[in-house]
Amino acid sequence: MRVTDMTTEYTTADGRRIGGTVMEMKNITLRFGGVEAIKNISFDIREGEIRAIIGPNGAGKSSMLNVISGFYVPQDGEVWYKGAPRPPMKPFEVAQQGIARTFQNIALFEGMSVLDNVMTGRLTHMKTGLFAQSIWKGKAEQEETENREVAERIIDFLEIQAIRKTPVARLPYGLKKRVELARALAAEPTILLLDEPMAGMNVEEKEDMSRFILDVNDEFGTTIALIEHDMGVVMDLSDRVVVMDYGKKIGDGTPDEVRNNQDVIDAYLGVSHD
């Protein structure tokens, strides 16, 4: 049976529970002037799964992630979140709704330490306003302590304790990617969007990152949508894959289904767009 046809919960071979649809893209079209970066694409993301978007360079993958996170506004189509159509939203509003992300070109706070970067991931959870903070010190302190604990737990989880206090600007590329993941995780998001989390890494770093992604999904039950350029990496990682090419969706299904899809094979082997 095709997993994509299922509407009810199921359990994966490795024992993770996959729930119903949490996000659905309906007929999304995005244009930049004359360039159609996304052409009428629909797909869904289910609770608890690792959903991959793959495709050659320039296929429109990052654009799709930017539509989900509110950085780009599509000309056509709807984004459904938790069963309701989402009104047009600014990126910060999307973040406040529990959707955290990383960027293909890393967007960290270069002037801050690793810990401070991860703490900014807690901003959406900081409830106490300015006024309350100044007159109601006890509550603010308690909140600060809780946020610190979450941040430290994630720092431990991603094994970056040793660089907690290091200014991010001094870190090598691979570690920056990990800090960015830590910051996104600190938001305890409903959906985590990762744009090429393994790009530019060496083999060992890629293996570490894959393991972290799997562990995050497994331990916190976080729904993850990730973009990968390299087809091989993604196959072991994801439950379902959307394949894009020239702004069109050319495949959607389990890694096995996608691997055997003729359009996908053509896109990757037949014509190279790079």
Partner: protein, 329 residues
Amino acid sequence: MPEQLAFTIEVFLNGLMAGVLYALVALGFVLIYKASGIFNYAQGVMALFAALTLVGIMEGQVPFAHLINAILGTDVHHFGWHVPAFLAIGLTMVVMIVLAYLVQRFVFRYLVGQEPIILFMATIGLAYFMEGVGDLMWGSEIKTLDVGLPQGINIAIDETTYGWFGYGFFIDNLDIVAAIIAILLVTGLVLFAQYTKQGRAMRAVADDHQAALSVGVSLNFIWILVWSLAGFVALVAGIMWGAKSGVQFSLSLIALKALPVLMLGGFTSIPGAIVGGLIIGVGEKLFEFLIGAPFLGGATENWFAYMLALIFLVFRPQGLFGEKIIERV
């Protein structure tokens, strides 16, 4: 103790006090520049506007009285009440927050992503617009501002230094109060930036807009916030300058002195603004006293700060504390 040395120390201390004011105006610049990349030429006019508004509210002046009278043929000028200083300061702060909102909502919202020079030009326009509005709202006469700060020579310092040097220093109480308020203000701002939710969000925006958005920070809100904070700093500077020299339109000229301060301290550094302000304050007073008056015919305070800034520009363009500028090739 040679008299010359005692004089020099006195000049030094007075220079520090003058520097506090420069530092405050520069601080307002830095706040906005860090968070939005806007070089706010209007910072000095904001201080003027705040001081005018404060006096107007305290004295129960009818805003836009000339305009109202001209249109309606009436002759109203005062409400006939006086507002206590602390309440008037609070109300003026509300006006500054409204101003911050209006500036963001009707000007800079439409200029997001524009070249720095365009943003700069917008603030020049804003400066003259605000000067005009200030004039129209409150009139252009010189006003005295008395919010009850102590004024006049500090007797304790006068007597102590007389005991030490045989010469009593003239330090104005107002300057001492100004220095204390400035220290409190800066401490408060630093604590705010380090430990509050909004302060963290502010630092996030100052560092990277895209990343800030991705962690749920509204750029628009933060920009209104920093303009409000700059308005608050402007209010404090306006109160001090107004109490010292009266509220007059030349107040906006102190903004120009903040420019050399920023070149010294760097445009993105809060400590830089403070230290830069003090260096310029002390530097120009000492230079005038030691070299300017005896050898150059005086009035060097008009240009000394700019000359110092020019020297800095040549040898350390990023300022004392600014981030090092590395050319990417």
